[in-house]
């Protein structure tokens, strides 16, 4: 299996650190894991580096996760890239909104390490 390059987008450095740790626990063949603090930074990174999957928060300054998702899906090479929302937002309306915009999956914070690891393994292995 080829290595997987990922992009983590979250304004919390703590969450980015936790996600990095959980990703290591998945035992997936990780390549480079890029980080961005908001959607705008995420888009800048995507212009310079190709990634195989994106993990993003919703509630962020500058460009939130919903706008970031819309922008990513407008980029031809990212139309079907796995895009996983990891967020405190839990309403059914919001889950449906991001699914309709093209999010691959949705993980609600708070999460246990096991829950997130198993979900990421299942999504990224396929």
């Amino acid at each position: 299996m080829e290595s997987i390059d990922l992009l983590i987008v979250d304004d919390s450095a703590a969450i980015r650190k936790i996600l990095q740790r959980v990703l290591l626990q998945t035992e997936l063949p990780l390549g480079t894991v890029f980080e961005a603090a908001d959607g705008s930074q995420g888009l800048d990174l995507l212009k310079q580096h190709r990634v195989d999957a994106i993990l993003s928060d919703i509630n962020m300054p500058n460009m939130d996760g919903v706008e970031f998702l819309k922008s990513v899906r407008e980029i031809p090479e990212y139309r079907s890239t796995p895009f996983i929302m990891i967020t405190t937002e839990g309403s059914q309306a919001r889950v449906k909104e991001v699914a309709d915009l093209g999010a691959t999956s949705y993980v609600r914070k708070p999460f246990t390490t096991d829950q997130l690891r198993d979900k990421l393994t299942s999504l990224l292995k396929s």
Binding site: D11, S12, A13, A14, I15, K17, I18, R21, N59, M60, P61, T87, T88, E89, G90, S91, A93, K109, P110, F111, T112, Q115
Partner: protein
């Protein structure tokens, strides 16, 4: 529903939210501590973390704790030893507050309508005194772990 009944329901929602965050992300059990109302509004040294809430109801959710407690909680959250309060600790406390208030928001939306959250603001220093404007719905609870305690409060008023 009377405000008194609503405040009791909010207390339950706040504790359930905190319990979920602490058990899943900090591997810590919490229990309700003695009512902190008598300490409310008094100056203290430590951390004040705020997340704003807006929608048909507006207000804020707060997490209040001492510096050593903040460092301890951040250590558990990040699974890295944090001996003093710095940027990483404040960021961790902000995210813990974000998750608790986010869960509270999800629990309240059925009754109060859709709400949005701000990004967290975290203040650390001495002689902090939080003055809160009047609110129609409020909850203040103290939660304790093995050797630490935090105060959580939610204040909401109709927009």
């Amino acid at each position: 529903m009377t405000n008194e009944l609503a405040n009791c329901l909010i207390e339950d929602i706040v504790f359930a939210a905190a319990d979920e965050v602490f058990s899943s992300m900090l591997a810590s059990q919490i229990a309700l501590a003695d009512a902190p109302v008598e300490r409310d509004g008094l100056p203290y040294d430590g951390v004040l973390s705020v997340v704003g809430m807006t929608g048909k109801w507006v207000g804020s959710g707060f997490l209040i704790c001492s510096g050593p407690t903040a460092a301890l909680l951040a250590s558990r959250f990040l699974m890295t030893e944090m001996s003093s309060v710095g940027d990483e600790v404040l960021d961790a406390i902000g995210e813990i507050t974000n998750m608790i208030v986010g869960s509270v928001k999800n629990g309240l939306e059925e009754r109060l309508g859709a709400m949005q959250l701000s990004v967290p603001t975290v203040v650390y220093g001495k002689n902090i005194r939080a003055h809160l404007m009047k609110s129609q719905l409020r909850s203040i609870i103290a939660c304790r772990g093995d050797d630490w305690e935090i105060v959580l409060r939610i204040c909401l008023t109709k927009a």
